[in-house]
Structure formats: structure tokens, C-alpha cells
Symmetry: C3
Subunit: 391 residues, 3 copies
């Protein structure tokens, strides 16, 4: 299970006939030095609608991730240095896709399982449910409600001992979709970052539409009254009239607010010289923060989903880089936000989470964002990006 | 597993990491005296669409229940003293919810698994499928096609040795529904009764609609030519024009009748001093009967579903206390039958089944119903409660 | 497990409490002589959307079949003498029905799992999705996405040692459908044939509609440039205007052709004296071929689905005997192709696959087809059978 430089553990592979089921391994199983913290465990859930769901608990250095292989390798949550990154959805179960009907309630069945820190939306379409060009598109596409296969852990044998968790997720419908997604999560013991490197391949001989939103969601303790967003952006605009009314304070977070529901803001990203854009949600104490960095080449826009309603309702902010905004696809053609994935083309999506648990980390991120933004005004547009009657 | 007064057996609990799988226990495992009959067994089903379904067989005294934890703790059937309470649906399998698509065939997919003696319908809505206020509501709501968690058996250690089977069933959709149902079935060795005590809690910070119908269904041998219904009621009215034509004999049961299809009758319940209303279906011999008693405070109306078609079609009568009638919700606002469950409110639903297997029991029930009704006329309204073009 | 003449192995039976799971048996387990080749193996799949799917690998003589009990006893593919009969769909997984939502994308969710050599379409309806008489019908009906029960292997103890694999598949919806399908696949060690003998019983006391299409699909190596179809038929007509444009060469197969999409041809079958009609797809070398023979009494028409697009798109030809063509049911009433299955009636469907791997076999089939056709012209109608705006 090791070559000279990388140890590999196959967790699930129909092709190789491997299904480890519930297991655990630690650093020494991968031949790592004793001072390197690495632990992986898989548990199969049962009871209610989580019957058959699996969780991979991966601890690398000070970070513990909970990944859901049965839900497209989504990230349930992360803990670093005692700080939890994620949110408290009213949906408590890790719902198995066999209990999800995405067509339900006008295409909103996706909401029955929505509780993760990172949810991939896509990839043939994402966004709100509804009809576009004769097709009914369900909320946020199909990928998250698809179990992965070919799940592998790779552990570098030399410093900095990077650890990669990979998995393949298919999105297929004969004549319609022939996509294969290779997901990858990378952590390094000494680092506060989680890197998401996804490769989407259109195996078809025909071009197709391709939309992705990385629906990253954060609640307490990062979110709270006085928490603040910092972004690198060219323009911010409200999603609809309701958000327009809250445009002045789009980046300031209130305490849980009854009847707030959600305000959504659309941001045109501004990249640094490496092509990366940044959004930081810092806690009110400025001692913790979550930084979402993303490659603008494939994820040109950012949606801020300010859902600061009551705790029971899901007090949460989404920081969501995407190919597109959250509108139904029919509204995005005119915005130029329905990219094509060509026949045989592979697209890369890169998102990096900074799990910041010290003032220094937060301060450095804020400074970096200011530097990137320096000299570029963030234009505030008062009119919604799209005029729609629905939300 | 026992305190001073109650022994507890956890059957399924993700929280506690317990899943007993296939097991059996009997009275002595719970420290009961030898003359107390108690047996519990769980079996996992396989084959066809029942793959993964589970049955809990619970024998308490002379009664054996078959409960379906994977279908919201519904009751498949009951046998007392050799008499079966339940019915013979054309659906023979105990269908696992992962094979049910409630949106299918215009919202009628629920029918693919319908064969139980007691089916809970609800709780955000119940009734016929269709659009109401911009939402498409599937037939009879979602709760029955939801597997339970936190399943526990409690056995009282002192006479009368009451036995309670509990389970939790969630009904959740982010932004839409945040309900938790605590179900409880209570049996006592010396008694012919099964008590259903359900507590529905709206965990949300917002009010919601709440409809429930306890869809209790009985076929042979209780049902048969000459079987008769006795109810405590203020008013009976036909559901539609077709039922209006059979209003005269609404309480008399014919033999299986080709092309009868179904007649539905709506009853406004009449409660006794304890707030309970009653419906008794007595067999033609008057030697067996099923009594459905229910608390009118939360279940004010009763639907009689007279589906006395051929045996192959499902020869069955439903005795269905509810918050509402069986119409789509859009028809029930004007009737005042779309109750609200307030933020954080818990509602209690209480239904009691009397499994009567002697003339004395049947006679006593009939007499009691007559006493409750005494002096109150059951008004027969010839016009359907709601004028609709559909059924 | 044996009587005088037939050995029986129950593979799955809820009724008998038998689930063999992953197993294998061979000729000597069935008491057969050593020179008879028989092997059966079952494997449970995992990973992605094939979690829980099962495959039965059945080798009889020179033929190995892969049957999918969890998908209605469909045939994934067959290999005879090193030649594979089947096709390469972009859908690679053997998708478990719990991951299929047939209502998805306007009733096209069936396509998410479509990759078999033989797919049963039916039985209450088959054909394209859409509304008919107030019912929304999903693509090709429900049977293929239904797991089987009562799966049994029968092995004759005397020459020619016929082997039958049986399974029961239910199609049920309370008030709507009460069908039971008994499937049977028969192979004989010395023979190139697979016989499909299905019995569909309407258990209801009422008549119902009944449509079936045996969607048999073949790609390379049988299909290829220069492969040719030979049929016994009275008439061939295009399905729509697009197919009309390719009518001249309906029976000739091109190499994989970008943007070909599919042309569909409707054939009125011509039977021999035994009531059988025939379609042969011979490879360009004429050294291999697949013959589909079928009983015209219950399967009067044949659909040729010429989907000779690129390999990635699924380069495949369907040879599909049916009660009906592939149109939505609403178009077939006027064609007289919506048969009734009467109350309690059983219908037999018989399809036989000839897996031909020698020139002699191919030649003999071609000659037989010519003999049957002899003197009967195959009328070529240039107008589509049905004029529709959709495909």
C-alpha cells in the first residue's frame, strides 16, 4: 500500500472488490513518524433516513473532517483546535440518497438532506428549481445525492506529509449526461487549510452545459452578531428586491433574527495574481474565521447566502463560489453564466478552506484580502442582478 | 436495562450506537413473572421491494402486533385470540421507503406501499394529492414512508405490566418542515386495547400547518356482509356525489361488491365526558369487533372509507380519526380543518384500538356508544361536505 | 433439492426465509455429469449507485449470462464462445432501483440505469413518457426498476440438461395495478439459445391496460459498419420524420456516426407457422449474429432502435418486440396497440435469443428468415406511423 513517496489505502472500490466498511487506521499504519497526527475512521450509520450512510472521520494535524462518501464526498463539518466549522441545520440526519426525491415539492427535495459545511451543487446544472428550455431542473443539481466509488486515501511519506482523500462521483443519464467527477480533499498536518481539487470530465462526445456552486455554509461560533465578511470583489449586487433592502449591511452579520429569512448577494470576484479570489468570515471576536479561497478561472462568481434567521431555522451564512449565481439556469444565459463543458473536456475546480483559530491567522487573511482589493473599488449595485417574480 | 419500575430495551438508536438487528426476547428477559405473556422479535425482510424492511413482532397477553419501524412505526396488523385485525391489500410486500416515490402518478406513489392496519397520514399535510397555495402535496403526507430511529421497548415491572413500544420519526425539509414525532404504542397483557399516543413537536421557530389522519383499516373477518358501524357523532355527510348515493346505508357493510369502488363519509365527532369519541365496526356475528376510540381535542373529525369492492381490490373499511377530512388541503381551509402547530408547540394524538373477540366486549362497546350518543341526534346531511369536480 | 427429474436451488425467497447472498455452485452440486458445464454465482455490488445491486452469473455450456435480480431479472449481457452480446452504455454501474427516480426530467429517470442487453419495459404501460388519459406515464414503465423475489434455479437431471432461472417481479399500486410477473430464462448446454418465457398475471378483478416492449440492445462486436438486419415483416415505417429520412438504409448499419442520434423504425411482424417472427443482426463479417425470435400472438410489432451515434453516446441497435411501439401510450390507442389484460388473465411473452458465433449459425438463420418471408413483400411505408410534434 506504499510506494516510495506515497502510501495508499483503498477504502471503497467496486473495480478492485474492496469495501473496508467500518475501519480505523492511524499514522503508524501509514508508516509516518510518531509526531505526525493522522487518523482515519469510517462508520456506517443507521436509524431513520441515515440508514446506510457512511461517514469518514479524517484527522490530520489539528483538523478533523467528517466526509460523507454516500453524499458525493461532501464535507459534513470540520473541527480545528476545538473550533467547529459547519452549521446546525434543522436536518440532523446524514440522509442517505435513497431517501431523497429531488423532484419533491417543486424540485426542492434536495433540502431534505441539506446540512453540510460543503455541498457540491451541479454539475449539469445548479441553482433554483424550475423549467429551462424544456427541462425541469431540480434545486442545485444531482451530484450531492450520489454515492461515491473508488475512494482512496493517499498519504505522502515525506514532509509535509500531505494527506489526500479521493473519490469518484458519476453524474449520468443516457443521452443527457455523461459526467465523471474526481474529487480530492487535501490536508497537511501543519496547515489550517483544506484544499478541494475537483476534476469534472465530460465523457460524452458532445458538449453540455456545466454549472457548479460550492455551497459552503458556516454557523456558530464563527457566525454571530458582529461577524463580518471580507471579500475580494469587483461588484456586489442583490439577488432580488428583498436583498436590495439589506444591501447596506450585506457584510455585517446580525444575531439570529426572527423573520429575516435569507438575503442573497451576488459578487463578481476579484482575483489576485495567482487567479485566486477570497472571502473571509471573521467572528465578532476576530479570533476565529473561515476563509474561502477559490480559483476564478472556473468559479468566476460568489454567492453570499445570508440566512441569519433563528437558530432553529438554520442560522448560517453561505460563502459560495460558483460558475453561476443561485438563479434557475434560465436566468443565467443572459448573464453569460451557463458555461459549456466541451466533449471530452475536463474542468478543474479549486476551493480552499482556511480554518482560522487565532487572531494572527484572521488578521493575515484580512490584510491579504485588503491588499488584493487595494485600488479596486467594490462597486455596489442597488438593482438586483436579475429581475424575477419568484425568488 | 431496568430501573425500579420499568425495564427498557433499546432496539435502535444511532445516538447510542445500538442496532439489535434480528433478535428476540421474552418475559423473563424483562424480569416478569412466568404467567405474563410477553415476547418481542425483530426480523429483517428481503426480496423484492421489501429488502431492508423490518418487522417488530410484539406479543403482549393475547395480542400480537406487527409493527414496521422502517415505515414510521405503522402497524401492519394485530391478532388477538386468533382473530386478525387488518386487511388484505393487493400490495403484499412490506415496501421499504427507498422504493417509494410519493410524487409518482400525480402524487399517488404512497399507494405502492399501502397495506397496513394503521397508517399515519401527515403531519404537515394529509389528504388527497394536489396543489394548495403553490405547493404540490402528495397523497397523505410523508410520515409513513420514513424510517424510525430511537426505538425502545419499555416494560413495567409491576401489574398490570404495561408494555410500551416507542420510536421517533422525523419529518424535515429545510425551510419548510421541522417536525419530530414521538410515537408510542401501549399494550397491557390483560387488556384488549392498543393505545397510540403520539406527540408531534414543531421544532421550528415558526408556525406551520399540521394535518393528521390515522388511517385505520379493517377487512375480514371483522368486515363482512352484515357488519355494521356504530359511531358517536354529531353529523354525517357524504364526501362527494357518489357517496351521497349510498348515504342511507353508510353504516351497513355489504359483501365484497364488484365496481363498488369506495364511498367516503365525513363525520363530525361527538365526545364523551373524557373527550373521547368512538367508532365500532362489529362483525355480522356480533362476536368480534374493532373499536377505534380517539381524543376529539386534536382529532375532531372521522372519515369512514367504505372500500367494499372485491377482495382482490382490497375489501376494507377505514375508520380514520383526523384533524381533517381526506380532501386535498386546499378544500379544508374553509372547513376550518387546517390546524396550525405553533412554533415549539407539541400536539398530542391519542387513538385506542379495542380488539374485541367476544360478544360481551362488542356488546359493551355498542352500549357505551349508545350511551354517549343518547339524546344527541346524528344529523345526516345529504349534500357533500365539499363540492369538487375531482374525487 | 432434487426430484427425479429436476434439481432446484432457491436463491432468494422471503416466503421460505432463504437469501443465499454471495454464493457459487457448479454442475456437480446439481448432480450433473462431469462433461456438462454449469456454474452459477451471485455477487453483491457496492460503490456508487450500484450499492446493493446483485448480479447472477450463470454459465451453461458455452454461454455465460449476467442477470440482475435487483433490476427485474434483466439481462446485463451474455458471452458465448468469447463473443459478447450486449452494449456499452455511458451508464457503467448496475444501478440499484433505490437510486432511480423515474419521474425525473419529465419522466426520463429510467435512463439513469439503462445499460442492459435485455430490459423489460412495461407492463401497465411502456413507451415514451407523457400524459395519457389523465395519467402521467414515465418512460418504459416500472418493471425493470423493481427487485425480484422468489428466485429459483432449476436444473434438469437428464439430457439436454435444460437450466431455468426464474424470478417473480411485482408491479403493484393500490387501486391502479395488481400485476405479477413470473420470469423465466432457459438455457441448454448444447444450444446457442436463451429463451425468455414470461407470464404476466393480472391479479385484479378488473381489466387493465398492458403494454410490453422487450428492449434488447446490441453493440459491438455484432454491431459495426456493414452489420445488417434481417427481419420477417409485413411492413416497415419510420417512427418520425427524422427516421423517414433514413428509411432507405434502415437495415444497414454504419460505423459510429456523430450526430446520428437515433432513428426508430416500426415493423409489423410476420410469423412462421409456429407463430414466431424473427430479426437477425449479423455482423459485417457474417461470422457472428444475434437472432431475436418472438411470439407474435402477444408481441405483434417490432421496434428497431438504430442508435448508431458515437461509442461514448452508446453505439447500439435495439431489436424490440412489443405489444406496442415506442410512442407514448396516448398515440397507440388508434393503432390498436394498447392491449387489455383481463381480470385474472395471464399473458405469455416469449422471446428467444440466438447467440450466433459461427457463419453456419448466421447463415442458417438468414436462410430461415428468407424462407419465412418468401412470397410476402415487406412493404416500406414512407410516412411515419404516427404524426407527432415530439419525438
Amino acid at each position: 500500500m506504499a510506494n516510495n513517496t506515497t502510501a495508499t489505502l483503498t477504502i471503497l472500490s467496486q473495480r478492485e472488490g474492496i469495501d473496508l466498511g467500518d475501519f480505523q487506521r492511524d499514522a503508524k499504519d501509514f508508516g509516518l513518524p510518531e509526531n505526525v497526527t493522522l487518523r482515519i475512521e469510517q462508520v456506517t450509520l443507521f436509524g431513520g433516513k441515515q440508514h446506510g450512510s457512511r461517514l469518514i472521520l479524517l484527522t490530520v494535524g489539528a483538523t478533523t473532517l467528517r466526509v460523507i462518501p454516500t453524499r458525493g464526498m461532501g464535507i459534513l463539518d470540520a473541527i480545528r483546535g476545538g473550533v467547529r466549522f459547519g452549521w446546525d441545520s434543522p436536518v440532523k440526519e446524514v440522509v442517505h440518497p435513497s431517501f431523497i426525491n429531488q423532484e419533491a415539492s417543486g424540485g426542492c427535495g434536495w433540502l431534505d438532506g441539506f446540512n453540510e459545511m460543503m455541498v457540491r451543487c451541479g454539475y449539469q446544472w445548479s441553482g433554483h428549481p424550475g423549467e429551462d428550455r424544456g427541462e425541469f431542473l431540480t434545486l442545485h443539481g444531482r451530484i450531492q445525492n450520489t454515492p461515491a466509488d473508488e475512494i482512496v486515501l493517499e498519504v505522502d511519506q515525506q514532509p509535509p506529509y500531505a494527506v489526500r482523500l479521493r473519490g469518484r462521483v458519476d453524474e449520468k443519464r443516457f443521452k443527457f449526461t455523461n459526467f465523471e467527477l474526481q474529487t480530492s480533499l487535501t490536508l497537511t498536518p501543519s496547515s489550517p487549510y483544506i484544499e478541494v481539487q475537483d476534476t469534472l470530465t465530460n465523457l460524452s462526445s458532445y458538449d453540455n452545459t456545466c454549472q457548479a456552486i460550492y455551497h459552503n455554509n458556516f454557523g456558530e461560533p464563527i457566525l454571530g452578531q458582529g461577524a463580518r465578511l471580507h471579500v475580494t470583489g469587483k461588484k456586489v449586487a442583490p439577488f432580488n428586491d428583498y436583498a436590495a433592502a439589506g444591501l447596506d449591511s450585506w457584510a455585517q452579520m446580525p444575531a439570529p433574527t426572527p423573520n429575516f429569512d435569507e438575503m442573497v448577494f451576488n459578487i463578481e470576484s476579484l482575483a489576485d495574481e495567482q487567479g485566486m479570489a477570497y472571502a473571509l468570515l471573521e467572528s465578532s471576536s476576530q479570533a476565529e474565521g473561515i476563509e474561502v479561497a477559490y480559483q476564478v478561472a472556473s468559479l468566476p462568481v460568489l454567492t453570499i447566502w445570508k440566512n441569519v434567521d433563528t437558530e432553529e431555522q438554520g442560522y448560517v451564512v453561505g460563502i459560495e463560489p460558483g460558475t453561476s449565481y443561485a438563479y434557475n439556469r434560465r436566468h443565467q444565459w443572459d448573464l453569460g453564466l451557463v458555461p459549456t463543458i466541451k466533449a471530452k473536456e475536463s474542468k478543474q475546480f479549486y476551493v480552499r478552506f482556511g480554518l482560522f483559530t487565532t487572531e494572527e491567522e484572521v488578521q493575515a487573511s484580512k490584510q491579504y484580502i485588503a491588499n488584493v482589493q487595494d485600488g479596486t473599488p467594490l462597486i455596489v449595485e442597488s438593482a438586483p442582478t436579475v429581475r424575477i417574480n419568484e425568488q
